[in-house]
């Protein structure tokens, strides 16, 4: 077992002592079946276009009644999804947000036990063009109202939000004029973040709110420090890791996490990409500048991707503060037309998909297995933190391995 695997064992597994009883009395020598139902750790991807079409009822016939093969692959691997609240797409015409369609989408994922994250509430990219006719005061008011509306409309459905996306470059973004860059230039990053987070929190005090950025230079951890010193309540630090130009490797990844660990906040790796084709040239600064019509996945690339993906995911999981990983995108040909998927364009899974499934639902997963209680009626279950199910005479009971600390649960079999 390597160093990463050992850390994963330390930080991601636990044990629970089940005390089986009937009418309150211990039941010795009792055979039950126990299997894992979910990981505590969140592993997801961004929304899947076919699910959107499904929610929009754009799929007819059998496809309209049930998710297709990619969706099955999704549900077999992931327990979390990032939903697209890009403002310009969500509300292309001011006052007509796509709330109903998004609720259907959210509800579909929820019904499949997929945890939801909304992305993003405030971002200069995909800020609607209709903001450009406003004064900065009006833009601010509209942005605040947008947060209030969406966080409120989705309270109880989406309770995890990327509040501000890419604030490091927001005020100096110079590709095109947009309302948020104007506003951030005037207010400053921290003042804007403060207003956005306070608005979101007032609207839904029970939700969790992230800051998120692709900038992994000291600029970002300094910004987080500045926000925290200014009293902004950030629940989670989101770090993007789009590696179209090559896998970072363990050392760089650990060095980046290390720069954020002093805050003691949970970390989400919100946007992870490792491609299975030729790398994007290193001279490209803004990934969006790389526009290609054809970017194939190759057999060698897929083998490399599978190895790198496994090492990357293990690196992230080995750190106790990382609590969520989101793959970007599940299938080739989405953002940048890149071979970034775990699934090919023809809907077949790549080696990376199989490798991850072998971990999450294999090596790191308790398949339904028989356990027999000892003379005191006890069963010790060791495994990855998460949710488990006990079956006895056809009846099902759920329990958790909630933490790396040992715990005890009494389960009454009657």
């Amino acid at each position: 077992m390597g160093a990463l695997d050992r850390k994963i064992q330390t930080n991601r597994t636990g044990s629970v002592k089940l005390k089986l009883t009937q009418g309150g009395r211990p039941v010795a020598g009792c055979a039950v079946r126990i299997g894992q139902k979910n990981h505590k750790f969140q592993f997801g991807s961004n929304w899947q276009d076919d699910i959107i079409r499904f929610a929009r009822k754009e799929l007819n016939g059998p496809a309209g009644e049930q998710p297709d093969v990619i969706t099955k692959l999704y549900l077999d691997l992931f327990n979390q999804v990032t939903l697209p609240f890009y403002w310009a797409n969500f509300e292309p015409e001011q006052g007509k947000p796509g709330t109903e369609m998004m609720k259907k989408l959210a509800s579909w994922y929820s019904s499949h036990d997929i945890a939801l994250k909304g992305h993003p509430l405030c971002w200069h990219t995909l800020a609607p063009n209709w903001l450009l006719n406003m004064t900065n005061d009006e833009i601010l008011r509209t942005q605040i109202d947008r947060i209030k509306r969406d966080v409120s409309d989705f309270a109880g459905i989406v309770d995890t939000w990327d509040v501000v996306n890419e604030a490091v470059i927001m005020p100096i973004f110079d590709k095109y004029d947009n309302g948020l860059t104007r506003l951030c230039k005037e207010k400053g990053r921290i003042e804007l973040l403060k207003i956005m987070f306070e608005t979101a929190r007032e609207t839904n005090p029970r939700a969790r709110f992230l800051i998120n950025d692709f900038d992994t230079s000291p600029a970002y951890d300094i910004l987080v420090e500045g926000c925290l010193e200014a009293g902004i309540e950030i629940d989670v630090i989101g770090i993007q890791s789009h590696m179209h130009q090559g896998y970072w490797g363990v050392e760089k990844t650990e060095r980046i996490i290390e720069r954020f660990e002093r805050f003691g906040l949970p970390i989400h790796f919100t946007e992870n990409t490792i491609i299975s084709g030729d790398l994007m040239p290193p001279e490209i600064k803004d990934l969006n500048d790389f526009q290609v019509t054809d970017w194939p996945s190759t057999p060698e690339g897929e083998e490399r991707q599978a190895e790198e993906v496994v090492t990357h995911i293990k690196t992230l999981l080995s750190h106790p503060l990382v609590e969520s990983i989101t793959w970007w995108d599940i299938k080739d040909g989405a953002w940048l037309n890149a071979p970034s998927g775990l699934i090919r364009r023809d809907n077949t899974p790549k080696p990376s998909y199989h490798a991850l499934k072998d971990l999450f639902k294999g090596e790191w997963w308790l398949k339904p297995s028989e356990f027999v209680s000892d003379s005191k009626g006890e069963i010790e279950v060791k495994g990855f933190l998460g949710e488990y199910e006990l079956e006895f005479e056809g009846r099902l009971q759920r329990f958790q391995i909630p933490s790396t600390e040992e715990s005890e649960i009494q389960i009454d079999l009657l």
Copy 2:
């Protein structure tokens, strides 16, 4: 006149109406001589080794009695100096600071009307090795005591200080172990800066305190914003611009200033270098890694340097928030053995020196000239902001052009 020159005229010049009187009555048709004595704008360099040797009385004979030729060149061009308070050099043995020698050095510069800046109070580089035996609490206590001692010892002599130097990399500096990196890693940048600035301000409430950094990426303006949001009173933002790898050009320089102008604080360009020899290769990340025994100044390099220096200085002066520029170093062969001087190793001035002197003491300077008061006894003097002297019948009186707003002064000639 170019765009930079026009901005310099707008932001750096003013006019004053002198009302000449004798016994309170206006004196019409009176001839006086008026000349400039100093610029309001500070233009300086870092300490000069020969002056240190002079202060240490290491120079014998005539050299020990008067500053040498470089010193004359210094005094002819500059009105400000940065003094070296590098902790490891200033206090090589704990408890034995070089206070007396530094006071002699300071006093020599002061006696020549040179404004003083102390550099730096808190920096990971040149932190004394004897800190390494301490706990972080002890390092903090010792650093605080050091600030109290030196800011107090030099109050009234050195009233401008670089308080914290290079905080952006301080906690992630990994070249060698040092007390300040340890401390900053534990405290975080903003918390450490807060303690350092508060200590300095409590010790000398009348002094001006700078933050200073070579990092001109968004990390630095985000750090400044974080500090200000956390309530740290920073008086001046210091920006280093060591251009051993090539002159930035006007656009990049303006873009950097622009990122700091929203704070409305004065800006000092604290460490400016443009070399007159071959450029340092672009792949060098830390300038200190470039060690050469020979780095000659070349005739072509000197012509290029002169042009670039003039454009650079004009770019800085054209912005109203920039109030000080420090050249690093005045003479070739100091830091990094670079041809960074305005003066060659053989003590002869380069074209850059002449070009700057032509500006500061030529085009931008009022040489003693005759003025005659009008029928109301008034003289209008236009010129660069700064100090002027009026001579009438052998008697001298000082006055200021204090700002770009028009002002009036009554000067009684008796």
